[in-house]
């Protein structure tokens, strides 16, 4: 977790420095704000990962002498096949088309989005195919 954290913190520091130089040289609002935002994008997750690095030390994937056998067991949980991402995508599709072709399409798009969000939550609770 250490390299990951340092990688993101480096981004934060770099864009912080570039942002400060840019702001005091140009006084241009748009670019200054975007560089500030980019710097925060490095610092926020970077400090989160640093916090976890301090708490849990080196994981198996951080140790260069770790063996595959040490990692035996449950890796993670992965959802199986699910129709809901497709339904959610179609809902989003119809909703953006509604903004172009007429609001009546929203009555198709939003219900699809709500159904998919409900479906994906319920599916997580009761399990499904892998």
């Amino acid at each position: 977790m250490k390299i990951e954290a340092l990688f993101l913190l480096f981004l934060g520091v770099f864009f912080g420095v570039v942002g400060i130089v840019y702001w005091f040289w140009s006084y241009e609002d748009g670019g200054g704000m975007m560089l500030l935002g980019t710097s925060l994008l490095g610092f926020l997750p970077g400090s989160y990962y640093w916090f976890w690095h301090r708490r849990m030390g080196h994981r198996l994937e951080d140790r260069d002498d770790a063996s595959i056998a040490e990692g035996a067991g449950v890796i993670n949980s992965f959802p199986g096949s699910s129709i809901w991402p497709f339904v959610l995508g179609m809902g989003a599709f119809l909703t953006v088309l509604a903004l172009v072709f007429g609001m009546w399409l929203i009555f198709l798009g939003v219900p699809l989005i709500l159904t998919a969000l409900t479906g994906v939550t319920v599916e997580s609770r009761r399990g499904g195919h892998v």
Binding site: W25, G80, P85
Partner: protein
């Protein structure tokens, strides 16, 4: 870290009994598995796959390999469509006052050619297609970190692509304000009609798709690596995809929010990018005034990192191909990683070099940072040449495409350094010189290196080989076509021909250059027909690939071709950045490098 179940558990994936001893290597004796020719799936540790079949399987799949292939096939369709548009553009320009297309149609075509190539082909092909398929395999993961989010990314990308193409079928035609949609040209007054709105919505959908994929890639690479796969043992392709994912997270939210603002300007009466209602007070606009230049700032804050989102994955591909076909480890591994980071970091601070001629940007700042990018790029070139140096080179199709990339990208990069200098940029801005520059950059990366990736990983994806001879024909036709198409454009640009024009004066000597360029573009088109022929031949008469046809280095070549559900039944020990090669060549004489070459000295306690 303790491996734990996550709250949204559906079914646990149990890590199979992984073998680390040298006695057993059953993986290498397995017969090649070809879909439709026996059992291709569902054998990961006796982990039978249940669930839907046929089209329902495609609609409901959360497997990164299925989603990656869907991405690649869709983006290749977009590539061919955009290529046909390019041919129509070239035909129109082959004579000064051609009547093949109306001016309106021409504007639609160059807008959609650029949009399809950049938003719907080059990016999604790399980070949606290849990265989705290859990155989990390269780090020894069973899937992406968020499989359902991954599926949603694909559906948003597909519907975004359809939304953009619907533009051709509405009154007024597709968007015609260029792929950069500069304000105020993209306002409702200057570009009315549903085509522009559809374009904006398409970019918003694909923007969200890219952001979700970026999050997914970062999560996968940070959390799902196999034991022993430290960050500095990851293949360079995976490193480059990590850096690309971070760039996506920097750039795409800005683009997507700019699209929402543009839509509000067009329909909801806001004036974010229009100068309506401005009052000058002491020579300066009042604070409540909209600014067309703000669009350019927002767009290029996305647009320049986007160029590297389209380049870094392809740098990663050639960095995989060169060592394998030179029979050497990659030269300067850490230099490559830090150069990638430096390129990405610098690329986010150079957005306004696209706006030099507006007269409203800080020229020295943006020029300096732009020129600085040449340094890490030079390091990469040095390392690529170092990898080839004294290697036992094998000129397979993938290797030829990678070497072609070196030449193409070098030419595009050198003219890029010229354009980073404001005096030159002021002279050639908006001419065909710039068109030739960015086509050489993007063709070098997305096409040369991208198809190197296709030839290299196709055996892993489908368990069958592409024909090498057809691949070599494809390469040489395309290589010649590439130079014939784009070199005359530099010259005609220096002669003053502006971009985005459908006709030009006949007495300036521009026609001959344009004719040569058009001939070159048809050579390129012909070469891509050969690729289609190659696909058809490999499907009708498959040559089984085996697990590792190239004697390659990285982890994806350890599993079967195509990989089983959840990718691995067992893994080799990971002790360097090329675990598969180490496993297959236990007796090879290796020169120690990295940490092994510089062991820490034991501290001797003083008595």
């Amino acid at each position: 870290m303790r491996r734990q179940e996550v709250a949204f558990t559906v079914t646990d994936v149990i890590a199979p009994a992984r073998i680390e001893t040298e006695e057993e290597r059953p993986q290498l004796e397995l017969p090649p598995q070809i879909p439709g020719h026996g059992s291709g799936e569902g054998h990961a540790g006796g982990h039978e796959r249940h669930g839907p079949t046929g089209i329902l399987k495609w609609l409901t799949s959360t497997d990164h390999k299925v989603i990656g292939l869907s991405y690649m096939i869709t983006s290749l369709v977009m590539f061919y469509l955009a290529g046909i548009m390019a041919l129509l553009i070239r035909l129109q320009l082959s004579s000064p006052h051609s009547s093949l297309l109306t001016f309106g149609q021409y504007n639609q075509l160059f807008t959609m050619h650029g949009s399809l190539m950049l938003y719907l082909f080059a990016g999604p092909f790399a980070f949606g297609g290849l990265a989705n398929f290859i990155v989990p395999l390269q780090i020894g993961a069973p899937d992406m970190a968020f499989p359902r989010l991954n599926a949603l990314s694909y559906w948003l990308y597909l519907t975004g692509s359809i939304t953009m193409l619907i533009g051709f079928f509405v009154a007024g035609g597709a968007a015609s304000f260029g792929w950069v949609a500069y304000a105020p040209l993209s306002s409702a007054t200057s570009s009315p009609g549903a085509g522009g709105d559809l374009w904006i919505m398409a970019i918003a959908l694909t923007g969200f798709s890219a952001i979700f994929t970026g999050v997914n890639l970062v999560g996968t690479i940070f959390y799902l690596r196999a034991p022993g796969m430290t960050m500095f043992r990851m293949p360079i392709f995976t490193w480059n995809m990590l850096v690309t994912a971070i760039l996506i997270l920097i750039a795409f939210p800005v683009l997507t929010s700019a699209m929402v603002m543009l839509f509000c300007d067009r329909h909801f009466g806001t004036h974010i990018f229009t100068a309506v209602g401005c009052h000058l007070v002491n020579g300066a606009a009042t604070a409540s005034c909209g600014s067309p230049l703000l669009w350019q700032n927002l767009f290029w804050f996305f647009g320049h990192p986007e160029v590297y989102i389209l380049a870094l994955p392809f740098f990663g591909i050639v960095t995989e191909v060169f060592p394998v076909f030179s029979r050497k480890p990659v030269f300067g591994y850490k230099g490559m990683v830090f150069a990638t980071m430096a390129i990405a970091a610098l690329s986010t601070g150079v957005w306004a070099h696209h706006m030099f001629t507006t007269g409203a940007v800080l020229l020295p700042f943006f020029s300096f940072l732009s020129l600085l990018i040449a340094v890490p790029t030079g390091i990469k070139f040095f390392n690529w040449i170092g990898t080839l140096w004294h290697g036992q080179l094998q000129f397979t199709a993938a290797m030829l495409f990678s070497i072609g990339f070196l030449f193409a990208f070098l030419m595009g990069g050198v003219t890029g350094i010229m354009l980073a200098s404001p005096p030159i940029d002021f002279a050639v801005h908006d001419t065909y010189f710039v068109v030739a520059h960015f086509h050489q950059v993007l063709f070098g990366t997305a096409v040369f290196a991208g198809f190197a990736g296709v030839y290299y990983w196709y055996p892993k994806m489908f368990g069958r080989m592409l024909r090498e001879s057809l691949g070599k024909w494809h390469f040489w036709l395309m290589f010649v076509g590439f130079w014939v198409t784009f070199m005359p454009q530099y010259v005609v640009g220096l002669l003053g021909m502006p971009r985005r024009v459908a006709s030009y004066p006949s007495n300036l000597g521009w026609q001959s250059y344009n004719v040569v360029s058009t001939v070159g573009s048809f050579l390129i088109a012909l070469s891509f027909l050969l690729l289609l022929v190659n696909f058809v031949v490999s499907w009708r008469n498959p040559i089984p690939a085996g697990d590792n046809p190239w004697d390659a280095h990285t982890l994806e070549w350890f599993t079967t071709s195509p990989p089983p559900h959840h990718n691995y039944t067992h893994l080799p020990p990971i002790r360097s950045e090329r675990p598969t090669w180490d496993y297959n060549h236990p007796d090879a004489l290796t020169v120690p490098h990295g940490k092994a070459a510089h062991p820490k000295k034991e501290r001797v306690p003083v008595a």
